[in-house]
Symmetry: C2
Subunit: 264 residues, 2 copies
């Protein structure tokens, strides 16, 4: 392993890790931050994204060596003491495991959809702007073997630091792409996908629906739900709830629907 001790928080080799929270807001020019052992393991093992370097707290190194051996031998592993690490990150990093990934060119949504297997479960997200919900939906998508997450342009970034963390790395595993909803719906239709829109006012109870070989499941925001023009074009499905109760959280709804349609 290419272990590189870091003593100076201003060392230019760890510049990508500086002031993590502030940098969340301004963006990282094609990079993202992976935190924690499970996420680092997915970053290195899935190979969907290139990893640029890791920054590990010195007393966490032993526990993460097996994970790091999945990287090429020259992969830079910066090692720092607690005080230096905290000064780099700008806050107390008690977990002490960080890595920088490279986004690469975004996959065109049409290519992703065209390459889905003959039996496929795709999640289509419209207007999911909360990183906790985004991360939780990816986690559920991975848990139930969804093949892709397709996002409209008003969704937030699945590679935002908090979204990756909440997804427990699933955002680095489940393929995703951004696109235009109208074009996407037409493409999915052409490729033989059944298209179900989850909505509290859906006409069919989800218990009465069956999985088709190719299925696209649309989820919208909690407040406004999916746009009316989309609901008019798709088969609408509801999750039965207690009377007088408002709505489920969209991540909870995704868990129920993905479990229902999953082959697992």
């Amino acid at each position: 392993m290419n272990l590189i001790p870091i003593d100076d928080p201003q060392d230019p080799r760890v510049a990508a890790y500086l002031d993590i929270r502030e940098r969340d807001l301004v963006g990282r020019q094609g990079r993202f931050v992976a935190e924690g052992k499970v996420v680092l393991d997915l970053l290195l093992s899935t190979g969907r994204f290139a990893a640029e370097s890791a920054l590990i707290l010195e007393n966490r190194l032993a526990g993460v060596q097996g994970t790091l051996r999945q990287a090429p031998p020259d992969f830079p592993v910066y090692v720092a003491a607690g005080e230096v690490m905290d000064r780099i990150a700008g806050f107390h990093m008690h977990r002490g495991i960080l890595a920088i990934g490279i986004r690469g060119a975004p996959a065109p949504v049409e290519i992703l959809v065209e390459t889905l297997p003959r039996r496929a479960l795709a999640v289509v997200l419209v207007g999911i702007s909360n990183h906790d919900n985004m991360g939780a939906i990816f986690r559920n998508a991975a848990a139930f073997g969804a093949d892709a997450v397709l996002l409209d342009r008003t969704c937030c970034d699945p590679l935002y630091r908090k979204a990756i963390r909440v997804s427990v790395g699933a955002a680095l595993k489940v393929p995703f792409a951004f696109g235009d909803t109208a074009a996407l719906t037409a493409t999915l239709d052409r490729l033989g996908f059944s298209q179900f829109a989850l909505s509290p006012s859906g006409t069919t109870d989800i218990r009465a629906t069956q999985r088709s070989a190719r299925l696209a499941l649309y989820l919208g925001t909690e407040g406004e739900g999916l746009p009316q023009d989309l609901l008019a074009r798709l088969r609408t499905v509801r999750i039965g709830m207690a009377e007088g109760f408002d709505s489920l959280n969209v991540a909870a709804a995704s868990a129920i629907a993905l479990h229902h349609f999953s082959d697992r």
Copy 2:
């Protein structure tokens, strides 16, 4: 309505609203904070907890009048301008709707269990220490008509401000009580409850389980799961997942299981 203008952030009548975030940490001596219109509505409409007062941003008053009319005519509604409200709360309160509720004496868990209906769904939580998960589980419990949430002593407080907010008020609606797990399991058994423990290593797939008239569903923490001695005594149930995937978030698991066992 008993509208009381507040101009001075130090006015003793709004002392319960001072420095909300700091007060979260030290406790509120038998009180809790309800935030937002939906939560205020549940606080006043369910009557499970007494409401002490409300503090409303002056330009939000019109939108919340119908909700406030559910309170007694002498219920104090403090009204403040934005700057005063922010200085009371200690941060920017953009939602502008707060209320103080009274916890009252905690319900003994045995009494709550004894008074459950003949057909009942109870959620038993062991070691749920994260307020987001606690709130999300209550929200799901309300959505699927669970009759009670029973908590072991290592669970966090469902009336913590963030837990109430994440529950969208369900923590003020679904009856709950704290107790000792071993005694609780014995009581539930005596009262004819089937007892299912949700665990990734459960012996029965949840799809193969059926709802009994009285059902208790046990959920544990994500990391450690339910204690082994408890798993040994209960029927264990798993949610099937994609191979190689670690685990579901406990709130997501609760959504799937409660939906499965719900009568709705």
